[in-house]
Amino acid sequence: MKRKAGKSEMPTISGSSAKPAKSAGRLDRNVQAKIGQQLRAVYEEVVKEGVPDRFAEFLRRLEKRDPEPEQ
């Protein structure tokens, strides 16, 4: 009888009783890929816009604000 050595036990996450994954919840690989692709496309569309000026300006403004101006 062979035993797999070195297979450490997974720590269980508190609060979640070990339930088998519902087979009904398994998605086809292609479907998963399709969803993932669209998700990234929608997200990347915004990322590609880069940093709008208002944010660079905003940080610069905060930076220029003297911590303790002379009164």
Partner: protein, 187 residues
């Protein structure tokens, strides 16, 4: 309080992703940009609580997410169907480069419960690990996984990519203390 240059550089670098996340949460570009700006302001004000060497992006996402959550809860009390309004906002977004092919997908995404939507976006688009997302959302890793799964299933169902046997998305089986809004809270 002056954050040093590298901190500000890291913040600026995170802005594009923060915006993408904020837009996916709020469904509205203007609101999203306000949310990002408020996030930066808060981050700078609390820069002392940032641990150097840890993931700045994850830290900023956490701040943004919490800001959105508190705002969302406020609005939810005011308006019953915040999700309906969310969907409207997304669809009427005057986004000239929103490709038509993604219109259905955006609409389906907008219909997801907020918990599931944010988990799916953080894992599937923003590229965080389950562990990081668990920290960002303040829940267990198992909860993140189950939210992502249910989000995918629901999208597949809404978009008719694949019939979901047994109506898998209908039942809420996870234990999630966070999804229960403390409605009795005073103030």
């Amino acid at each position: 309080m002056n954050a040093d240059q590298s901190v500000r550089a890291a913040m600026l670098q995170a802005v594009p992703s923060l915006r993408a996340f904020a837009i996916s949460l709020s469904g509205n570009v203007d609101r999203a940009d306000d949310l990002v700006q408020e996030t930066l302001a808060r981050a700078l004000a609390h820069i002392d609580s940032f641990q150097p060497g840890t993931n700045m992006q994850a830290w900023l996402f956490t701040i943004l997410r919490n800001l959105f959550r508190s705002e969302y809860r406020k609005r939810r009390r005011e308006v019953e169907d915040v999700d309906g309004r969310f969907a409207d906002g997304l669809q009427s977004q005057p986004d000239q480069h929103a490709k038509l092919e993604f219109a259905d997908f955006r609409a389906a995404l907008a219909q997801l419960p907020p918990d599931q939507r944010e988990a799916l976006i953080l894992v599937g688009a923003a590229g965080f690990s389950y562990e990081e997302v668990a920290k960002i959302c303040g829940c267990a890793i198992g909860t993140v996984k189950s939210r992502v799964n249910r989000a995918r299933n629901r999208l597949a169902e809404t978009l008719s990519y694949q019939p979901v046997e047994g109506g898998g998305t209908g039942s809420e089986t996870e234990h999630d203390p966070n999804s229960r809004v403390r409605s009795t809270g005073s103030g």
